[in-house]
């Protein structure tokens, strides 16, 4: 790069000297121009010759050589040199821009660990992560990347997961926790037992996914490839026609003039701007999304996402946490604490999620000595003696069976009714909690012009409609069996427009068929879950449903920029092609049009990487 720059500078100095020199010796000026030309464009001419020998005639090197040497023969030395100079400056700019964008995208994916400190006896040995085996003990010091997935066995530290999740708040890990490769250890020293080989570790899976993402091409990319395929031969044919036909047909039209126009026409025609900027836009979009913890498996999905009309959510684990928690406690004639304590004790022998949530809410250890005569009535509940009191806890059926009058209003969630010594003592409501950003997720989707938001769930109707109403969802289908979900999806397909897309968001665990059926399958909480990464087209690494709106916004921005580039590049090209036919542009203006468009398009594509505020 530096060498090229120096060649251009030195060549330019000769060129300027040749322009302003005031000597009477006739040959000095052409010689200076020739020196300048050789320094600046010698390699282009050489490459053109080499390619002709290889049987490849019409490339840009050939075009530039013909055009500039042609100018020399016409006696127009300054123009010949200027065009070459301009072309080289443009090329330099272009490779600078491309390199820069390659680097900035590469830095997005700068999560590849360089080494692992493996503990061998008392020594630490630095090895390639590839060579570490399952069961090896590695030490990760402050500031180092976590090279492989594993389990912390010693030490505690804060880790930065932002490269994987886009989440800026560090997470704390201590002995016993799992740790994922690709994170950065911020402060403490931790010792980790490796649980996965490098190839199977999170970091290499993610890198693999992102780097190969653009192999699935979007429609716009395919269009450009097809376009370039027909465009080049057509342009060459037109150029030949321009060079030959007018001088033969019209009086006063000279070959030298029309050949010059044909050459300018060819110079403008290079389709590089288009071919670079469209894939670059999509690649930038995928890179920007991964910076936000959103993995997109291909440009085609990013493109489809921008056209989403209907977003369908699974409830449990997607909009809600999928963890049951005690929501409300309604005691009658005893205290809240007492009701919770008695219920937790009665249920303490069960491992049912409901019992677990009661124990969690109670928070203290269960003293087994205080409880006896446990009797579980299947489908009803549990009866036991706690501190000598006969405590019953269960559903309505249990209360009816025991002839205990109970609160009979409408309650939402799973309700545990409790009676103490045959007296109704109140009830506890247990429900799945809505995620903190679920409401924001729906609101953001509406703001991003999504026409319908729908929730599918196997849960009871009253629970589902309460969640849907609180989040502002348009539609809810409850009490669905797993198979019903696909049917409902088919039904929703008929409600979107022909070009619109339907996205399904699930946790990737038991909704694989639905994820596959949707136009775009989005899996949540992909971090550490291979199933989700496999099944979906787009993986949200965190548990936040609001990232779906972010992904849609990134895709809309990407598509907009890709379209801008397409219209701009094709527009300018056509304009200059017409201008050059009529002889209005000079050749160096044609060069300017060619490289200028490319550079502007590349810079525009760059904007996709800015995703901070999305």
């Amino acid at each position: 790069m530096k060498k090229r720059l120096w060649r251009i500078i030195i060549g330019a100095i000769f060129f300027i000297v040749a322009l302003i020199i005031n000597i009477d010796i006739n040959w000095i000026r052409p010689v200076l121009f020739l020196v300048s030309y050789t320094i600046v464009g010698g390699d282009v001419v050489l490459r053109a010759l080499r390619n002709i020998i290889r049987g490849k005639v019409f490339d840009e090197n050939f075009l530039m050589s013909i055009a500039t040497i042609g100018a020399f023969f016409v006696g127009d030395f300054p123009e010949g040199v200027a065009v070459m100079l301009f072309y080289q400056v443009g090329e330099l700019f272009q490779s600078y821009a491309v390199n820069k964008s390659r680097k900035s995208i590469a830095s997005l994916m700068d999560i590849r660990p360089d080494y692992a400190n493996v503990k061998k006896g008392d020594e630490l040995v630095k090895v390639d992560p590839d060579e570490v085996q399952i069961g090896d003990i590695i030490v990760i010091k402050a500031g180092e990347k976590v090279p492989l997935d594993g389990k912390v066995i010693e030490g505690s530290s804060m880790i930065d997961t932002s490269a994987l999740t886009g989440e800026s708040v560090p997470r704390e890990v201590e002995a016993g926790n799992d740790i994922l490769s690709g994170c950065i250890n911020i402060n403490g020293v931790i010792t980790v037992e490796v649980t996965k080989e490098y190839g199977e570790s999170t970091v290499s899976k993610i890198l693999d996914l992102v780097e190969n993402a653009s192999s699935k091409k979007s429609n716009s990319e395919q269009f450009i490839t097809r376009f370039a395929r027909y465009y080049t031969p057509i342009v060459v044919i037109i150029a030949v026609i321009i060079a030959i036909i007018p001088p033969l047909l019209f009086e006063g039209a000279t070959f030298s003039d029309w050949i010059y126009r044909a050459l300018s026409f060819l110079v403008v025609s290079c389709p590089c701007a288009l071919v670079i900027s469209i894939p670059l836009s999509f690649f930038g979009g995928i890179g920007g999304a991964s910076r936000k913890g959103i993995l997109v498996k291909g440009s085609n999905y990013l493109e489809a996402l921008a056209k989403t009309e209907i977003v369908v959510f699974d409830k449990t684990g997607t909009l809600t946490k999928g963890v049951f928690n005690v929501q409300e406690i309604y005691p009658i004639e005893i205290s809240k604490e007492e009701l919770l304590e008695l219920t937790a004790y009665v249920e303490s022998y069960s491992n049912h999620p409901i019992s677990l949530s009661l124990k969690r809410a109670f928070g203290k250890d269960i003293d087994n000595g205080r409880i006896s005569d446990v009797e579980e009535i299947s489908g009803h509940g549990v009866i036991a003696l706690v501190d000598g009191k006969k405590v019953m806890a269960g559903n309505i059926k249990l209360m009816k069976k025991m002839n205990i009058p109970y609160f009979d209003g409408e309650l939402i969630g799973t309700v545990v009714h409790v009676a103490v010594d045959n007296q109704y003592a109140g009830y506890i409501i247990i429900a799945d909690e809505v995620k903190a950003d679920s409401a924001k997720a729906i609101k953001d989707l509406k703001a991003a012009n999504i026409k319908q938001t729908v929730m599918l769930t196997g849960d009871a109707k009253n629970v589902a409609s309460k969640v849907a109403a609180s989040l502002g969802l348009d539609k809810v289908y409850a009490e669905l069996l797993p198979g019903d979900k696909v049917d409902k999806l088919e039904e929703l397909f008929s409600q979107k427009s022909a070009k619109g897309k339907l996205a399904f968001v699930g946790d990737g665990i038991n909704d694989a068929p639905v994820l596959a059926r949707a136009d775009i399958g989005i899996a949540m909480g992909g971090l550490g879950s291979d199933a989700a990464i496999e099944a979906a087209d787009i993986v949200i690494m965190t548990d936040e449903p609001s990232k779906i709106a972010t992904a849609i916004k990134i895709s809309q921005k990407t598509l907009k920029i890709a379209q801008q580039n397409m219209v701009f590049a094709i527009g300018v090209k056509i304009l200059f092609l017409i201008l050059s036919v009529f002889g209005i542009t000079t050749m160096w203006e044609a060069v300017f049009a060619d490289v200028g468009v490319t550079i502007i398009a590349v810079l525009n594509a760059f904007r996709v990487l800015k995703v901070k505020n999305l």
Partner: protein, 73 residues
């Protein structure tokens, strides 16, 4: 079988597209993609034809852009 290569010195997007097209037409290639941005070439093809595919692909790359070197990634 899938093989990945790095195309060092890949400097022109149109050439990348040309290489992709030409490699896709080689005998035994199921799918080939050239990613201009990551300078990666991925070839998916028949196992037994892979050695010839690779050497043919190398020729294609050299022919389209002589300064580009195909390296194992």
């Amino acid at each position: 079988m899938k093989k990945t290569f790095r195309l060092e010195g890949l400097d022109c997007a149109n050439c990348a597209a040309k290489m992709e097209r030409a490699i896709n037409e080689l005998d035994g290639v199921k799918e080939a993609t050239v990613n201009f941005m990551t300078t990666k070439l991925v070839i998916e093809g028949d196992d037994d034809k892979m050695p010839t595919i690779i050497s043919e692909a190398e020729k294609v790359v050299k022919k389209i852009e002589p300064d580009t070197v195909m390296k194992k990634a």
